[in-house]
């Protein structure tokens, strides 16, 4: 056991810091920039989100957590930790997780050689944007009750059904999708994992506008969508095993420790510039205490994540530990957004959303100090984190059952 960084680790930190400084500019971070948001087209938006991805791809650093033979990087967990920290500190564009974090490891573990070739290539290069076809209107927490049906017709499956909460499906080229291929036995036993080209006839993507005024999630309707049999991953009816494997990976990424640290720094900056009875709010004992408690909580999560990663690097996991990371990670993210909203006082109120900017024009930009922009949207938007990826209630059930044996 050792908490110190070696000299090599320090050198690594300098190297990545330099690389980020030279190659990332917040200019191409258009997905984060509301002023640009209403000016850019959907294609430009997608390009903006992908530009950092492509930079990393060129450098060979796009998938540090993949095995080297599939395009990963041979980094120790300490190096991966340093990398995450440096990216968060520089505020780099978050990478879209559907291909890199979710599908990639699935294909590596369950895919055939042909799939390993084309799917992984498209994920690494960023040429294929993937979305996740899991939830359905009647199948949320109870995912196994899903009803989207795939019936075999010669060399194709014919897919009919309705997916919901499909994040960024509006940009997606492909969807990995859970479908029902059998009604025999337990619901879990009749599910298969299909790769569906979003350009196939019969697919309709409908936007869902959320309380923060954004368009991130969608409904996807599938009507007689013909999917070649070769796009089945693993065996027919073994989709549930794959789905569980994937959700484990999704939950690991969800902790977001490095970005939460950065968000707490930002919160402190805000609390130092906001005044409360003529003094910085940061000096207010009750507000200060809340931030400090949050910071301690985050430190605990940081070391829990490091312990999980260490186990993983020895070939164990990710196991049920990932449920702890999901619960604590999202609770902390939500609390940060809550305290940030609290910090800005009266300026919680002005509401500038991409939609209101589109509808009402530039008059709706920049009310109040810059640090108040988007804070309310973020608070409302963050409420989704304890719902998605398996709600936090479900995560607690998993721990109760799998860890405590209850």
């Amino acid at each position: 056991m050792d908490l110190n960084f070696t000299k090599a680790d320090q050198e690594f930190r300098n190297e990545v810091r330099e690389f980020i400084a030279e190659n990332f500019s917040s200019e191409n971070n258009s997905g984060q920039n509301i002023e640009k948001y209403h000016e850019v087209t959907s294609d430009e938006m997608k390009e903006g989100i992908l530009s950092w991805h492509k930079t990393l791809y060129k450098k060979g650093w796009i998938a540090p957590h993949w095995p080297v033979e599939y395009g990963g990087v041979d980094w120790s967990i300490t190096q991966r930790y340093i990398w995450d920290q440096e990216c968060a500190n520089a505020g780099t564009t978050p990478l879209i997780p559907f291909g890199l974090t979710m599908l990639g490891p699935v294909i590596i573990a369950f895919g055939n050689d042909h799939q390993k070739d084309w799917v992984l290539k498209g994920i690494l290069s960023g040429d294929d944007w993937w979305c996740q076809g899991y939830s359905e209107p009647g199948a949320g927490s109870d995912l196994a009750s899903l009803r989207t049906k795939a019936e075999r017709d010669g060399d194709h499956y014919v897919v009919n059904g309705h997916k919901i909460w499909t994040t960024l499906a509006q940009y997606a080229d492909w969807m990995f999708c859970l479908v029902r291929t059998s009604n025999e036995g337990k619901p879990q036993e009749g599910i298969s994992f299909l790769l569906i080209d979003m350009n196939t006839p019969g697919i309709e993507v409908k936007p869902i506008i959320t309380v923060d005024g954004g368009h991130e999630v969608n409904e996807v309707f599938l009507e007689d969508v013909r999917v070649p049999v070769e796009n089945l991953v693993g065996e027919e009816n073994m989709g549930w095993t794959i789905a569980k494997f994937l959700l484990g990976n999704e939950r690991t990424g969800i902790a977001g420790v490095a970005r939460s640290k950065k968000a707490i720094d930002r919160l402190k900056d805000i609390a130092n510039s906001e005044l409360n009875n003529g003094e910085p709010l940061m000096k207010d004992s009750s507000f200060n205490k809340k931030i400090t408690e949050l910071e301690v909580d985050l430190t605990a999560l940081e070391y829990t994540e490091l312990r999980t990663l260490a186990k993983e690097s020895q070939g164990q996991g990710p196991g049920v530990e990932s449920s702890i990371l999901k619960i604590k990670g999202t609770e902390i993210q939500q609390k940060i957004s809550e305290l940030t909203l609290e910090a800005i006082g009266n300026y919680a109120s002005p509401y500038i959303t991409p939609l209101s900017v589109r509808n009402f024009g530039s008059n709706y930009l920049e009310v109040g100090p810059e640090h108040t922009q988007g804070v309310a949207q973020n608070y409302f938007g963050m409420r989704k984190t304890s719902i998605y990826g398996g709600s936090n209630e479900i995560q607690r059930n998993i721990i109760a059952k799998m860890v405590l044996g209850l």
Binding site: G278, S286, S349, S356, F380
Partner: protein, 375 residues
């Protein structure tokens, strides 16, 4: 001791309920808040015709001469309907100042307020002031028979719709002295007043308001020069009492909607309301609501008490309401799952309104401190 409502009060409640039923379903509200205007002038006229804009004013001034319990009933029902028309801003807050203004001012301003022809907004907050009502930089210098107003007010709720503003300004003293604060009636169309209007999180509207050498006749001063702070505190407490009532209205809808949803939404072969972990969450929401109703009644019944007692009641109630608003709002979204996150369902809209009530006129931290200092 009696917590029941009189027949007249129940009648008042019924009147408002049917107004909301007829004019304020979710789709109509959506139309209103997405319009350029952001509120409905027709609804405002109807509220005037129902006499509701005259609730707190004396019969002599053309009002109904009702008390705080009636205002509470109106605000609670508006909270259930998520009404965006600026009732509290105009009638409770600005009306609170005006009904204590001079005879001449009451005669000049109240008729057009009660008839619904003019909307009023109270400009008190400043960027550096946070929730401290005495932290005022906006200055009004006295030059004989007129004042000159300079400075900036922020997040002035309902100002985009208002013809008249009531502005707190410093006529003497240092930046956060309680002495030396005065209140002025300002015609929004006066030279030197500029506004920057915008939508707010909860579907309402507000403005940043700047005053540049705005000339005010001395007749626009409410009360005595430099002595306005106690009146501001009083009216702020009355406004808090009404906001609490609005909040319990919104909470009751969220609680009912959530329980109903959990009874019908099925997962794992049964209604999710059968899961104990969700039952307990809903029980906590219910208890938070009941505690909030109690505090709302308490503060509304104590508005006539002397300053310290009244102020403690208002701060105590606001603390309870802030905590409950957060818990109930967040829980309602959580229990609705993804649906709770959509703009299409009313849940998120109630959550947003409740979140703004948390901040308005001071959050839980602010009022905890105020309560503790008053004890």
């Amino acid at each position: 001791m009696d917590f029941s409502f009189s027949e007249e009060q129940t009648l008042l409640r019924n009147t408002i309920q049917s107004f909301i039923q007829d004019n304020y379903d979710f789709d109509k509200r959506r139309e209103i808040i997405q319009s350029e205007e952001g509120m409905s002038k027709d609804n405002w006229k109807q509220l005037a015709e129902l006499g509701l804009l005259g609730v707190p004013f004396s019969e002599n001034d053309g009002g109904l001469e009702f008390g705080s319990v009636e205002t509470m009933i109106v605000a609670e029902e508006f909270g259930k309907g998520l009404v965006v028309e600026p009732y509290i801003q105009t009638v409770v807050t600005c009306g609170g100042f005006l009904r204590r203004a001079s005879e001449a001012q009451r005669q000049e301003y109240l008729p057009s307020l009660i008839s619904g022809d003019e909307i009023w907004a109270f400009a008190y907050a400043e960027p550096q002031g946070r929730f401290n009502l005495a932290d005022i930089k906006v200055s009004a210098s006295n030059n004989g028979d007129e004042y000159t107003l300079n400075g900036d007010k922020c997040v002035v709720s309902a100002a985009p719709w208002a013809q008249k503003l009531i502005v707190s300004a410093r006529t003497s003293g240092d930046q956060s002295d309680k002495e030396g604060i005065s209140l002025f009636i300002v015609e929004k169309a006066t030279d030197g007043v500029s506004t920057r209007d915008y939508k707010t999180v909860d579907g309402s509207m507000a403005s940043e308001v700047s005053f540049e050498n705005v000339k005010l006749n001395s007749s626009s001063l409410i009360g005595e020069e430099g002595k306005a702070y106690p009146l501001i505190e009083l009216v702020a407490d009355e406004t808090i009492a009404a906001l609490c009532a609005e909040a319990i209205g919104a909470m009751s809808v969220l609680n009912d909607t959530t329980v109903e949803y959990c009874k019908t939404r099925k997962q794992f072969g049964q209604p999710i309301g059968k899961f104990q972990v969700l039952q307990h969450r809903m029980v906590d929401m219910f208890m938070q609501y009941e505690q909030s109703v109690s505090m709302t009644y308490m503060v509304n019944l104590k508005l006539e008490e002397e300053d310290v007692e009244r102020s403690k009641a208002a701060s105590g109630a606001k603390v309870q309401i802030c905590n409950a608003a957060k818990f109930i709002g967040q829980s309602a979204v959580q229990l609705h799952g993804g649906m709770g996150m959509t703009d299409e369902l009313n849940v998120g809209h109630y959550f947003k309104r409740l979140s703004m009530i948390e901040t308005q006129l001071g959050n839980a931290d602010h009022h905890l401190k105020k309560y503790s200092l008053a004890s």
